[in-house]
Symmetry: C2
Subunit: 462 residues, 2 copies
């Protein structure tokens, strides 16, 4: 039984009908933390979790054990080593149990341990972010976070994309309009270290474009920062972004890549975290699995912003009530409008394209109509915007004029303009807010509950 | 020929003897950038690179083409589309060529393009960091950087490790002695945003320990920051780190994991970037492939710091000359000492263990001798220190006393001490500086040449 040292290995052997696994096997040794410990006088049951698997292993112990009475007083949270006999229990709720021959105390748990059996609110658990991954919900969230990360890397690397680590300390403002954090070593002399002002990156896109012009297909996956004071369930001061960029590609290619990417990653999580996803479906967001399955199977629709506005106007005329019913071309769509289009009109994922250029960043490509840019937002039911992308302005003169109109300091962006002077080509890319994607997949509703140690306005614990 | 749209696909089909690939095939269409273009009057040759593969495709064109004369004036750096006929050329240097039937100009390249045919110094190329990935050397470096990143994720995820994104903006100083960058929104009121002082993380270890106590095996892979003014070839203000942490594990388990990890990742790169690695071996660091092969095949040696000191003393006595020959127990080994031990004594990778506790961080576990801690550095020939790790102090009282002795503000670390009160267990971990690992694998000698946009003292371009 040397091969089985973790609870995951035992469960997987049961699931996949491993031949090595007989009805019972002596000599199992596990280490882990007690989730619950109950004792009916002569026999006791420990739910043991060792972190390798979502579910616990049931440990059965007898008071006959040398330290049997002591064991029955082990508290939730205690770490122990268990030796014993593995027994298949086909008629029970759990597929197997461990009949303990020895239980060794490794680390006591103090009486004030906050994770007692009762259910805690997410608000409360945020105040003990160092302990909450020991609960079912956050164990599921953060394993899925890890698996989703891997899905992203596999998706891009399998297609030859080059992963680029763009810098986080930067002297440019990638979105051209930013609430940025400053980086200093001396508040009285903010330029002391770098000899110029330094900020934390809000995007890696500009820099990754330089790599796109060398490697054709590239992506970033790393942290970004916004000094936003808004206190919503969807905004954080520090979050991770995925930013792919593809050369010799237009908005159509971009949309095809977005669709491939988000459906691949969603399927990957469904396949690789079945216990966790089942838990979310049952306990966090009923209907989640059905929604995700549909998401991966429905072809995404396409519609221009202008068509979207017409449909929204029509909806208002026909009596649909929006909080903001003043629909007019040029407006920034709000979440209710986006959700109407994806939930009521296309009843599935929707690419909304070709936005008024005033609404979008300077680097997006001007369309021929003179009014719109080749931008795209992916809207999904239940969430609204999940991905934002665009074809980039690859024409030197057009880009320069756009930047001048926005009064940008061209000197700081000379290198970016260079990319349009030396073998420019049409290219496109997009950005996915990783936490938002994770919320979409898990059904969790607050960004603070999908970041390990969330950073928001007035909150910097740990 | 629809399946082959990139130069990588064509090379791989040649390499793996793809059946689809006949001696010649019409209808190939490629897009890419001209590396060189030479013309002998009636026939011309373009070396085309499309970023998908290290090597170029040779395009042969005839002046008979509609725009034949124009083509012969296309400059290096120009982006083009090529249509034509793929022909195997078994007797030539390159395995195939494309006989162009049509060459379309996509993006001109201005005359001042800095990447002309001649060889440029790395120093010069650092000043055009947005263009250098278009050169052979940096194309190789940054594809290997991407592949090495994937190797790390595969290594850990294949074993069930959970990837944790630890926060970058933090209120604690993980190394207990830091040159940290501060994060502010208003220099006059540095605490305006978070209500307390914020710094950029120098490590994610403390936070990832909390996750280790929930998931057993975890790792981080993300950026870290040091406001170091030192201007060396090995230090940068922003770099990436890998920090695994394993529960129910001691220093021996830690060393086994380090050895597995670095040899797995090295082999992975050798297998997945053969052209790039051959290039480094030939052009950058002769003997590199031999050194790496040996590295992956030689079992790592182990030696205590105390034994190391004795051997160094003996070496001095026997006439070996060090720049610093004053060897005494308690000293910080310098690179020359580390390299002597790994290059002259063990002639292979060496784990040096059990350092004087004064030299190491507060969180390392006290050994029974009262003088040393359960720390380990991995020393490798040609480099010196590659990895640093330790078993962590898991005993609440011992850890608290260590922190008090160092006058740390315990209030900030209460959550970290909690991990020792609620089901503590022995655990260990290590840190790999990703850029240093990349330098070891590629033979590149300056950290500025393995970071896409390096950040160092007084340098914050792009």
């Amino acid at each position: 039984m040397e091969e089985f040292k973790t609870i995951r290995e035992l469960y997987e052997a049961c699931l996949y009908g491993d031949d090595i696994l007989k009805d019972s096997i002596d000599g199992v040794a596990l280490e882990g933390w007690i989730r619950t410990n109950r004792d009916n006088g002569s026999i006791g049951f420990i739910e043991l979790n060792d972190g390798t698997y979502f579910k616990n292993a049931q440990i059965v112990y007898n008071h006959d054990l040398e330290n049997g009475d002591a064991i029955s007083h082990f508290l939730s949270g205690t770490s122990i080593q268990v030796k014993g006999r593995f027994v298949l229990t086909p008629n029970m709720k759990q597929p197997f149990e461990i009949q303990a021959t020895e239980i060794l105390l490794l680390g006591n748990c103090d009486l004030d341990y906050p994770l007692q059996k009762k259910r805690h609110s997410f608000e409360y658990l945020r105040t003990i972010a160092h302990l909450r991954p020991r609960t079912n919900t956050f164990s599921a969230v953060f394993r899925v976070r890890s698996i989703l990360s891997m899905a992203i890397h596999e998706f891009f690397q399998n297609q030859g994309f080059v992963y680029v680590h763009t810098p986080l300390m930067t002297s440019t403002d990638g979105e051209g309009a930013g609430e940025m954090f400053h980086v200093v070593t001396d508040e009285k002399d903010p330029e002391a270290f770098f000899g110029k002002k330094a900020s934390l990156a809000v995007t890696g896109q500009l820099q990754v474009e330089a790599y796109c012009m060398a490697f054709r297909d590239v992506y970033t996956f790393g942290p970004t920062f916004r000094a936003e004071k808004s206190n919503t369930t969807r905004h954080a001061a520090e979050f991770w972004m995925i930013e792919p960029e593809i050369a010799f590609a237009d908005l159509e290619d971009d949309m095809a890549l977005i669709e491939d990417c988000v459906t691949y990653c969603t399927r990957y999580v469904l396949e690789n975290a079945p216990e966790e996803m089942e838990f979310f479906d049952k306990m966090i967001c009923p209907g989640l699995l059905e929604r995700l399955k549909k998401f991966t199977e429905t072809p995404f629709s396409k519609m221009t912003y202008t068509e979207g506005i017409e449909l929204l106007k029509k909806a208002v005329k026909e009596g649909h009530s929006f909080e903001n019913p003043r629909i007019e071309w040029g407006m920034n769509l709000e979440s209710e409008h986006e959700r109407y289009l994806t939930e009521q009109v296309t009843k599935g994922p929707l690419f909304l394209t070709d936005y008024p250029k005033e609404l979008k960043a300077f680097y997006m490509r001007d369309n021929e109509d003179g009014k719109t840019v080749a931008a795209v937002d992916l809207l999904v039911p239940g969430i609204g915007e999940l991905v934002g992308g665009s074809q980039r302005e690859e024409r030197y003169e057009v880009l320069k004029e756009k930047m001048e109109k926005r009064h940008m300091n061209l000197k700081n962006y000379e290198w970016y303009l260079d990319l349009r002077r030396y073998g420019t080509c049409k290219h496109a890319g997009f950005g996915i807010g990783f936490e938002r994607f994770l919320m979409f997949i898990t059904g969790m509703e607050n960004i603070r509950d999908v970041s390990a140690f969330p950073r928001t306005y007035k909150n910097l614990e740990y």
